[in-house]
């Protein structure tokens, strides 16, 4: 008889249970306090997941990894580390969403559903993080993705959001097909879907066919690299991130990506570590391509959300560097980078969402155009300073977390003797600084009412549905007047205080991790140690 160790999956149960509880309570209550109640419950769900992670971290430290449900679920430090990151993102998302719902009338009818989808998506991520069997990994991936597709399309009146959801869905389902076919071939080659048994079969060499295994690894990688948006499987990312509502992009670019990477680390670093020589070259090439394409494409974008989307592709390349090393240090560096990146991506897109809130309501075609960030330092100095900290961290400037994250993946790959990869990564890191410096210059050194950038000309625009390409630059005077008025109104709602608190927390985390990285780094190292 196998034992069902419900306690060990308590963090997953908390996230899932909160989702069920939220949907139940919201359908029973009709009062105007419903939204607040639902928000508080979601935030508590995130905190509860984090608390369960902390409790179990110590138990796992003393008793070792806990296997349950016929060995299909493995709660070890790696799983707990990632579930901790995802739960924190859920908590912060729940806090920032209030200001979003305060200004988007369309969403007021579906606030509950949004919180539920976020919680369910996070549950899927938690399932992936603790999967010890390819079946469970696949189920977790689908739970995570299906909720994310709906979040992307949730702004149902906006053509861009619909398009974003559709693209995300088609690409996601397509990638799932490759992922599954890869799993089927790996199963065919080894005769098991359990990660531990696959690894044993590879060690003993008792598998059926080398061709099946190699084909399986290749297709599996294609599927997961789609999910983490690494080049050449990245084309969907900028479109999806541009069209989807910004607060949900914050969630998708952090929690969803973290889950995709943990699946890569679990399978490549656990089950397939014996055939590292087969997958390392693929990761090597994909990593370089992601860094280069992400950085170069971000340089020519004019939409801040697309800039951040391409920069997230470049970050995916850096995270893959640590995986390429295929050593415990490499995986630890990647996990540490993941935690840092999740916070940076979440906070950056939250700032985009906050800025949208301050300027929506006038005739601006594209609220995320880089021109709308002109002179942000004088209009919203607090937001500008936090954004500056986050951008510097993404560029990898020393007193911030981003520097140490990049440093640790590069040093891991140097230890693994992949010198060219390390050199390319460092060169691209320098080039990447231009992306972020460009945004900093726009925010701090460009007056709000001039048109110094990109040969922008002033012209009034009336139509509301155009792309960033056909968009003519907005009338800056009008925009700043309107925006300040809207911002004041928004401020009066009192909804943005929480938002600013979350952003401050993110900035504080970013600096704290740069100054004193040791505690989180130790957690990441013990997470990497728990790989089979």
């Amino acid at each position: 008889m196998t034992t069902l160790n419900w306690g060990s999956i308590s963090s997953m149960l908390v996230l899932f249970g909160t989702a069920i509880l939220v949907v139940t309570v919201a359908s029973l209550i009709k009062s105007s306090k419903k939204d607040l109640l639902v928000q508080v419950m979601t935030a508590l769900g995130g905190l509860g997941g984090l608390a369960a992670v902390i409790i179990y971290w110590h138990r796992v430290s003393s008793d070792g990894a806990k296997l349950s449900f016929a060995d299909t679920v493995r709660i070890d430090h790696l799983a707990l580390f990632i579930i901790g990151v995802i739960s924190s993102i859920v908590f912060l998302s729940a806090l920032t969403l209030k200001s979003f719902f305060a200004r988007e009338k369309l969403f007021r009818a579906v606030t509950t559903e949004i919180y539920v989808l976020i919680l369910l998506s996070a549950t899927g991520g938690a399932i992936m993080a603790s999967a010890n069997d390819l079946i469970v990994l696949f189920m977790g991936l689908e739970v995570l993705s299906l909720a994310a597709y709906i979040l992307a399309a949730s702004n149902i009146r906006k053509a861009q959001s619909q398009e974003s959801g559709m693209k995300y869905f088609v690409i996601g389902a397509f990638a799932s097909g490759f992922f599954l076919y890869g799993i089927a071939l790996i199963y065919g080659a080894t005769g098991s879907t359990k990660l531990a048994q696959i690894s044993q079969k590879l060690v003993s060499g008792a598998f059926v066919d080398d061709g099946f295994l190699l084909g399986g690894i290749a297709l599996f990688l294609v599927g997961l690299l789609f999910k983490v948006s690494a080049v050449p499987f990245h084309v969907w990312t900028p479109d999806v991130y541009e069209g989807a509502p910004s607060p949900f992009v914050a969630f998708m670019s952090s929690a969803v990506k973290v889950a995709g990477f943990v699946a890569l680390i679990r399978v490549l670093g656990g089950a397939l570590i014996e055939s590292a020589a087969d997958w390392q070259p693929i990761i090597y090439a994909v990593s370089i391509a992601s860094m280069a394409v992400g950085t170069l494409a971000a340089l020519v974008q004019t939409n801040v959300k697309r800039i951040l989307a391409y920069s997230s592709i470049a970050h995916a390349g850096y995270i893959l560097i640590g995986i390429q090393a295929a050593t415990k240090d490499g995986f630890a560096a990647s996990l540490w980078y993941l935690a840092i990146y999740a916070m940076l991506a979440f906070a950056s897109f939250s700032i985009v969402a906050a800025r949208e809130g301050a300027i929506s309501g006038n005739s601006i075609n594209d609220p995320n155009h880089i021109d709308n960030y002109r002179g942000l330092a004088s209009k919203q100095p607090f937001l500008a300073v936090i954004f500056a900290i986050l951008l510097l961290a993404q560029a990898g400037v020393p007193p911030t977390s981003g520097f140490y994250a990049k440093f640790s993946v590069i040093s891991a790959v140097v230890d693994a003797r992949s010198y060219p990869l390390a050199i390319v990564a460092m060169i691209i890191a320098v080039a990447a600084a231009f992306i972020y410096i460009r945004l900093l210059i726009v925010m701090f050194f460009t007056p709000a009412d001039s048109s110094l950038l990109g040969g922008a000309t002033m012209s009034k625009t009336a139509f509301s549905k155009t792309t960033s390409k056909t968009m003519s630059p907005i009338t800056q005077l009008d925009a700043s007047e309107n925006s300040d008025a809207t911002f004041d109104k928004w401020k009066k709602l009192g909804a943005n205080k929480l938002n600013l608190a979350v952003l401050t927390l993110a900035a504080a985390f970013t600096i704290a991790m740069g100054v004193y990285p040791a505690p989180l780094l130790e957690l990441a190292q013990s997470a990497a140690q728990s790989l089979v």
Binding site: L134, I135, F138, M139, E142, L146, Y149, I150, A153, I156, A159, Q160, Q162, E163, S164, G165, M166, K167, F169, V170, A173, F174, S176, G177, F178, L180, Y181, I183, A184, L185, Y187, G188, G191, S192, T193, V208, P238, D239, E242, G243, Q301, R306, K465, T467, S468, K469
Partner: protein, 99 residues
């Protein structure tokens, strides 16, 4: 017991599915092509389950069928959303965002 025929049949189905996703214009046909990919995986899983004489393959196939149903549910909802807005479901024309 040879699995070669099944693996070949599955590979052919998979290729047809991939071709359909890449080439078909109608979003519904794209969804059907995705289903084809998932079903090719099912054939593989069941065949390998018989080859290795264990039940994991069949169990996995059941999970895949369930997930495929859920996926089509979400997919058709999205198609409906696009159709209401644009009055057609040609996904090659859904290109507001580029670059």
């Amino acid at each position: 017991m040879t699995v070669t025929q099944f693996v070949i049949a599955s590979a052919v189905l998979f290729s047809i599915g991939v071709y359909g996703v890449l080439v078909r214009r109608s979003a519904v046909m794209v969804l059907m092509s995705v289903e084809l990919i998932l079903n090719s995986v099912n054939i593989n899983l069941v065949a390998f389950g018989a080859l290795h004489d264990n039940i994991a393959g069949e169990v996995f196939a059941l999970f895949v069928i369930t997930v495929a149903a859920a996926e089509v549910g979400v997919g058709l909802a999205l198609v409906l959303l696009i159709f209401r807005n644009r009055k057609n479901i040609n996904i090659h024309e859904v290109d507001l965002m580029k670059g």
